[in-house]
Each structure stands twice: as C-alpha cells, then as structure tokens.
C-alpha cells in the first residue's frame, strides 16, 4: 500500500514538472496571440480614422515647413506611400504591416519629426528617459508602497494607521498630473527648491561630469516624486487590504497557535501570501500608468516617449505615433508576461492551474 502511494507521489512530481512546462508554453502562447491581436486592432484603428493620412500630411507639411518645395513634398509622400504600401489593398497593407512588426523589429519607416531618422531609432533614443525616470519610479513606488502597506496591514488596529490610510486615500485619488502641477507650482516656482521642468539645466551639454549628472538628478526628482506619491499610495492601500485579508485566514490563526514567532508569521505566512496578488497588481499598473506618464513627461518637458508623441501629433507624424503606440503595447504585454512567468516562483499553486 505504502509503495503504491510512493509511486503516485513520484508520478505527481513528474507531472508537476510537465505542468510547469505546460504553464510556460501556454502563457507564451497567450502572449503571442494577444500581441498579434492587439497589433491587428491597432492597425485597423489607425486605418479607420477619418481622412486620408497622406492628404493631411501634405497639408500639414506645407503648413509646418512653409516654404517646402511641392516637388520635394511629392517625393516624400511618394516615398511614404511606397514604404507603407498605402496604394495596395487593405489586406496587403496588413500583411506588410505585420511583416514590418516582426521582421524589422517594429520599424515603420522614417519619422517625420526628425526626417529621415527611422521611427524605431527615434523611439530608442527617447526610451532611456521614459525608462530611467518612470519605470524606476513605478518600481520604487511599488517597493515602498508594498512595505508601507504591509506594516499598515499588520498593525491595522492602531490609531496612527487611520491617519496614514486617509492620507494615502487622498493621494491615490488625486490624478498624477495634478500632483505634478502642484509640485511644479509649489516646489518649482514658489519655493524654487528644485527646477520646475526640463531634462537638465539648459546651458549644459550631456557629458559625464558631476555638474551634468547632478543637474540631471535634480531635474528628475519632481517628476519621479509625482509618480511615486500617487502610485505609491495606491500600492500601499492595496497591500494593506491584502494583508488584512490574509491575517483573517485559517493558516494564520494556526501559525499563531503553533507559537511561531510574530516575525516569522509576518515574513513567511502573511507577507508571502499577500505578495502574490500584489505582484499581479504591479503588472496591471505598469500598463495603466502609461497614460499618466505621458502627461507628466509633457508637463515636465522631459524628452521621453510622451513628449515625442505630442511632437509627432503636432506634425501629424503618422509613423512615429503608430510606432510609439505599438511599442507601448509590446512593452506592457512583455512586462505582463515576465510577471506572469515569475508568479509561480511565489505561488506553487499556479503551476497546477492555469
């Protein structure tokens, strides 16, 4: 009898490994499918907007660059049509578009903002700003918020946490751009503690000396702070709620009955379980905050993707706008995939159920 049981447990182990592989393959499959579907939707949205992009482009071109030679414009537009295959039937355009996405690494031809630099290079140029300032602040906000929320949840019956919850709630509901505006106005203009905008002091050249770097950092504080305050408050409240609900679970009562040290209970029992949904939350927020980040970049005049997008919009730069949208879809989906794949490390149950 016992031997039989051993066998089933071994079988379970093998099937567990197989399930892990299956989980990864399935997640990856969903990722690719979603990516394809999102790109397809984006394609049709771009094509469905009223008006011929080329006509608008032409009008825009002559307006923007005034004395643009009509022939030169014709050349550019012809080039565009060729690159995009806009004279082709829709399905061919679609195939071409997918081909571009896959084989040329999100390359959709030259940008107009900085003609003839390709869109992709432009995005790559601007990316360090967005990643350096915003991704960093989202991650920092997540770490700080999770820690703070855990403490607040653990001590949830103390009086002080009531105040902290109220402050967090207020911060959380305030849109990030209002916090940014407030910081610009108060800290930047009224108090003059920190520069209210721009990537670095205007008279400096980007070089690796201390003067430049310190200026860079001083300029980064306010935008990062605005993102961290609002998102951090959200993460704090979320983690607090998760902790409180985990504290009500049976295994926590049992751990207490077992006489396990409070610190061990906090670490191995409460935190580890509460972290699972909190990590999923990070993935969702990473996607959702993109909107707010665009605005913050514009408000602080940082040369990231958001500003690029607004510039491109001003010039009706069809290529660049599409490139940025697709790039952000790609980034968000990839981040979600990474979080999803990391999740089983935290939660052994996921390996079984998809």
């Amino acid at each position: 009898m016992v031997a039989q049981e051993t066998e089933t447990m071994e079988a379970a182990e093998v099937s567990g490994r197989r399930e892990a592989v299956h989980y990864i393959v399935r997640r990856f499959g969903i990722y690719l499918f979603t990516l394809w579907a999102a790109f397809t939707v984006a394609f049709f949205v771009f094509r469905m907007v009223p008006g011929d992009p080329m006509t608008i482009l032409l009008g825009q071109l002559s307006r923007a660059e005034g004395q643009l030679d009509p022939e030169e414009a014709e050349v550019i537009i012809a080039h565009y049509r060729e690159v995009f295959g806009l004279d082709e039937p829709l399905y061919k355009q679609y195939v071409f578009y997918l081909g571009n996405s896959i084989f040329r690494g999100l390359d959709f031809g030259p940008s107009f903002v900085a003609y003839p630099t390709p869109t992709r290079d432009l995005i790559v140029q601007r990316l360090p700003w967005t990643v350096g300032i915003f991704t960093t602040s989202v991650l920092l906000a997540w770490i700080a918020g999770t820690g703070l929320g855990a403490v607040m949840g653990w001590l949830h019956q103390r009086r002080l946490t009531g105040l902290a919850v109220a402050v967090s709630t207020l911060l959380q509901i305030t849109p990030v751009y209002l916090v940014a505006l407030g910081l610009i106005i108060y800290v930047g203009f009224a108090l003059r503690w920190l520069p209210p905008g721009g990537p670095y002091a205007a008279h400096l050249q980007p070089t690796w000396n201390w003067e430049f770097i310190s200026s860079l950092l001083r300029h980064a504080i306010l935008p990062m702070l605005s993102v961290m305050l609002t998102l951090g408050a959200g993460f704090t409240l979320g983690m607090r709620a998760l902790m409180i609900s985990v504290l009500g679970e049976d295994y926590l009562t049992f751990a207490k009955a077992k006489g396990v040290l409070p610190l061990t209970i906090l670490k191995d029992y409460a935190l580890r379980n509460a972290l699972i949904p909190q990590v999923t939350g990070l993935a969702i927020v990473l996607g959702a905050t993109l909107n707010g980040i665009f605005i913050v970049e514009v408000l602080f005049q940082l040369p990231g993707l958001g500003t690029l997008f607004v510039q491109a919009m001003g010039l009706r730069d069809f290529n660049t706008m599409q490139g940025i949208v697709l790039f952000s879809i790609f980034a968000v989906l990839t981040l979600t995939l990474i979080v999803d794949l990391a999740l089983p490390l935290l939660d052994p149950r996921i390996r079984k159920t998809v």
């Binding site: 969903i30 939707v41 608008i56 207020l170 509901i173 209002l178 605005i295 919009m313």
Partner: protein
C-alpha cells in the same frame, strides 16, 4: 445614516452638485448683474483677486469664478455620459463572457485583456488629430468607447461566480429561460457592484478628459475643469499670482473623486462584511 464614510461622501458630492447647478445663475445674477462674466474681453485680463473678481480674471478677460462654476457641469456631464457608455458596454460584454463557456469564454477574456493593454491616451490624442471640432458628446462618446474593457474585466468573474450558485439552477427548474435568468437572477444582485463600477468609470473618464485637456487637446478645448487647469498652466496664471484659478478646479476634481471614493468604500464595508471577522460566524 449608518456609515460615516457614505455620509461625508454624499455631503461632499451634494455640495459640488449644488455649486455646479445653482452656481452659474447665482454668480450671474448676484455677483455680476447686468454683465456677462464669461464672455471674452468683458474685463481687463489677469486681474488679481479682488471683491469684484474673487479669484481674479483669466487671460481672456473673463471672471475666474464665473468660469469655474460653469466648468463643473460639463466636466461632470462628460464623466457621467462616458461612464454610462463604458459601463453599459462593459456590463453587456462582461455578462456575455461570464455566461459563455469554454473556448468562447477564453477568447473573450483574451479580447478584453488585449483591449486593456492598448494605451488609450495616445489613441485619443491621435483621434484628436482627425476630429476637427470637439463637442461634449463626441468626447464623452469616445472616452466611453475606450473604457469598457476595464468594466468587462471586473464584471465577468462576478457573473461567473453568481452563475455557480444553485439558485440559478433552481430558477431554471422553476421554468425560467436564459434571458429571465440573466435579467431577473443575475443582474439584480450585481446592481450595487455595477453602481460601484460605474462610479469608477465616471472617475476614470473625468480623469482622462482632464488629462487630455492638459496635454493639449487644445484647439477646440471644451469649457471643463481640466481645460481651466490646462489654460491656467499654459498662461502661467500662477506666476501672476492667480492661485485660485488653478487650485479651485483642481480641488473640485479631487473633491468629486474623493466623495465617490468615500461612498464606494462605505458601500463596500456594508456589502462586504469580511472586515468584521467573528469566530462564531463560521
């Protein structure tokens, strides 16, 4: 009222609504009888706060307070219309997905997730390029069309869990057909939750609207709170010392969000008794 949060939230919302509805006529008749405080060039622009103009005048020579009180209603209207559109679309799709089984359900779930990852703001900005003249309804409609995925995503699991309850089986045994089960059995218990989601959608739409204005929907800017903030920022009203023209609209937005948040968490406390744990309850 049993719940302090709901009470405070309702009072705050009522104050904002009162200002939005009665404010314009009060300002017109009491403060500025026989004048048109919201027409361009009525006054000298950028006047500092005074008894004549409590928060000064704006760059177009209008009275700041009059502009402020008349901006609230359009903001709320956009939020409400867009929220209603996205909630009804999302609820319909969430119910459909929650009621579907197998492959269809998986497909719908992926569709919802996919729409969720498409960044809405850039798309809205792109649309702004092509739409020459914005009006309130167009903006509300578009915001609503972009917000349904979130609603569908949260409604779907709720429907699924309700559908597992045996009262749905009992209803079928009592001779109810599928539409009756959806509208008489599944929808009513979810109504409080749907109201909750609606308020989130309203907040989301107002947020997006103000964001769009601030980033520069610009050209045909609608007279909303967001537009007032954006305009004030662009014209540098703070530098001139007209703080009120910035903080009043921003404060109004925050008050709306806060009141809805308070009402929601209060309702959650009532409908979700998990916070009050008792041992005997098990």
């Amino acid at each position: 009222m049993k719940n302090a949060r709901i009470l405070i939230g309702v009072v705050m919302l009522a104050v904002i609504l009162a200002v939005a509805l009665i404010g314009p006529s009060v300002v017109d008749r009491v403060l500025f009888p026989d004048e048109s405080p919201t027409s361009r060039g009525s006054y000298r622009p950028y006047q500092l706060a005074s008894t004549a103009h409590p928060i000064g005048t704006d760059g177009d020579g209008r009275d700041g307070l009059a502009v402020f009180v008349s901006s609230i209603t359009p903001s709320l209207a956009i939020g409400l219309i867009a929220g209603l559109i996205s909630t009804s679309l999302g609820v319909a799709l969430g119910f459909f997905a929650g009621y579907a089984e197998g492959r269809l359900d998986t497909l719908l779930r992926i569709l919802i997730d996919m729409v969720l990852v498409i960044p809405t703001l850039p798309l809205l900005l792109m649309l702004a390029v092509y739409i020459e003249r914005w009006d309130l309804y167009k903006l509300a409609l578009i915001l609503g069309l972009f917000g349904w995925a979130f609603v569908a995503r949260v409604i779907r699991p709720q429907v699924q869990s309700l559908r597992e309850r045996s009262y749905v089986d009992l209803a079928r045994l009592s001779g109810e057909n599928t539409p009756e089960i959806i509208f008489l059995e599944l929808l009513p218990p979810l109504l409080p939750y749907i109201v909750y989601v609606l308020s989130l959608a309203v907040v989301g739409a107002m947020l997006a609207e103000a964001g769009l204005q601030i980033i520069g929907l610009g050209a045909g800017g609608l007279p909303t709170l967001g537009f007032m903030i954006a305009k004030g920022f662009r014209e540098g009203v703070i530098g001139v010392g007209l703080l009120g023209q910035m903080f009043l609209p921003a404060g109004a937005l925050i008050v709306v969000f806060l009141s809805l948040n308070l009402i929601n968490t209060g309702l959650d406390q009532i409908f979700n008794p998990r916070l009050q744990t008792t041992i005997e309850g098990r």
